[in-house]
């Protein structure tokens, strides 16, 4: 009979944490920030179809970094949790705090009991009916929950990005301005990011029942262009950029998350 090796629990946990952190650090980062109209979520994501940011419920969004299949599984579980809760109680009983706790338990369980921890960091955001009461829950790979007041940065390069973003972030600024600041913070001083490399969505307070709305590439391009023009104006003489046209008032049929009418099953 072979003798099991003794490994101190501290060592086990440390090894797991290192493993998870390494996995997360390989991916690109993500910013969530409170703005005047609601909560903006913005991620560096070269894929147009595999999404890091998604809708969970009427006022709740999800964002994840790290291993795609792992955070996507958590996302679907969150949608199920929220939809089941809304179905068995009422839509207003679905809240981000309880969802964040459920995520924290699931992640903590896997971290302590499974061979391999989940290599993810996730965010649950809930927009309030009025400003100033929005909630951001940042949940780490080991189930640690951090309740952030106005902004959260997830991912491997989080600290550097957070430092850059903190200086530029104004919670009373418009979505466009906060988006531009977030893109600049994600890019850092040495590179620029195109709209195609950015995935962005907003939980917009004025959007009716389902507040989640994805921003189109055109909107992102416009936001980036607006601020780079400002920067150029300060720096003077450079070529005028091509004007970006944003379609206004057009029904975007691909926008799955488009607003339902206000009265859609509000009366349950």
């Amino acid at each position: 009979m072979s003798m099991p090796f003794y490994v101190a629990p501290e060592q086990v946990m440390k090894d797991r944490a290192d493993y998870a952190r390494k996995g997360i650090a390989r991916g690109r980062s993500l910013i969530a920030a409170v703005c005047a109209d609601g909560i903006l979520l913005c991620a560096e994501n070269p894929s147009a179809t595999l999404r890091k940011i998604s809708e969970i419920y009427d006022r709740i969004a999800f964002a994840g970094v790290g291993r795609y299949n792992e955070f996507d599984q958590l996302r679907v579980a969150g949608v199920r949790h929220a939809d089941l809760k809304g179905y068995s109680y009422s839509r207003e009983d679905v809240d981000a705090r309880s969802l964040a706790n459920a995520y924290a338990q699931a992640l903590g369980q896997v971290f302590t009991h499974e061979m391999k921890p989940l290599e993810v960091e996730i965010l649950v955001a809930e927009v309030a009916h009025e400003g100033g009461r929005d909630q951001l829950f940042h949940i780490l790979y080991d189930g640690t929950v951090i309740d952030e007041p106005s902004r959260a940065v997830l991912g491997g390069d989080a600290e550097a990005i957070a430092d850059r973003f903190e200086a530029a972030h104004d919670t009373s600024a418009s979505t466009t301005d906060v988006l531009a600041a977030a893109v600049a913070a994600l890019a850092g001083p040495d590179r620029t990011l195109d709209a195609e490399a950015i995935e962005a969505a907003v939980l917009d307070r004025s959007n009716g029942r389902r507040t989640f709305r994805r921003l189109t590439d055109e909107e992102i391009t416009a936001a980036i262009a607006a601020t780079s023009t400002e920067a150029r104006d300060e720096g003077a003489d450079e070529v005028e950029p091509a004007p970006v046209e944003v379609p206004v008032g057009e029904v975007d049929v691909d926008q799955v998350d488009a607003v339902l009418e206000d009265d859609v099953d509000d009366d349950d």
Binding site: S54, L84, Y87, A102, V256
Partner: protein, 274 residues
Amino acid sequence: MTLPMFGTHDDPGPDFAGLVRRVGLAPDHPTQALPAGLGVPHGTTVVSIRYADGVIMAGDRRATSGHLISHRTIEKVFPADRFSGIAIAGAAGPAVEMVTLFQLQLEHYEKVEGSHLSLEGKANQLSQMVRNHLPAAMQGFAVVPIFAGYDLSRGAGRLFEYDVTGGRYEEQDFAASGSGMLHAGTVVKLGYRPGLERSAVVDLALRALWTAADEDSATGGPDARRGIWPIIATITADGYQRVPDTELAERFAALLEDDDAARSTAAPAGGSIS
């Protein structure tokens, strides 16, 4: 509540009704026939008509239990999602439950999959729900919906009728369901023209409900005293939009005036036969 997590082989996917069953929240079907006099409210008379911009759905507001009026303001027309609607006739409780589940099913699919179902897919989903409801229908809780929507890929309105077994029938021009369907359907059939404008189709739907209410005791007419008007909604490229009560009140007043005018210009009753 813990997170509902499933293994890869038994994952319910984007199926919300399946998820509800799996976690034990689905209601049991009744095993016995409904005792006489239990008084389950029934809703009646809904119509749906295709017109120039899409489709229109309309339903009266009355629910009856036997010969009694149990509700005067019940709703029988609902948005299913942004581009489709569902109208119901039959046992009110299970019908409203089916609507709720159907709405959630579509939204759940959309969120889990990241894209929405085609109109055809939505119609088929509802077909399955009606079929699953068959055991309850056999016990006296029949639900017969109409599903209509704007098909974004075709750029046109489409409408579907169902029977209690889940049979799904796409209708070309219009559909009616419920106890007043015969009268409402006839009015629509006589007044229908391809490519009707919005105002004309609202009038036609109103007249259909008005006639059904006149002939069928289980269908409620407009109630100006209480301010209860039918629920009428259009579904077009702009999505599901309820026609406001104020507009319906005006249209009804115009409709009654037309009737009075028609009556006064007609030959006086009891005239001589020559």
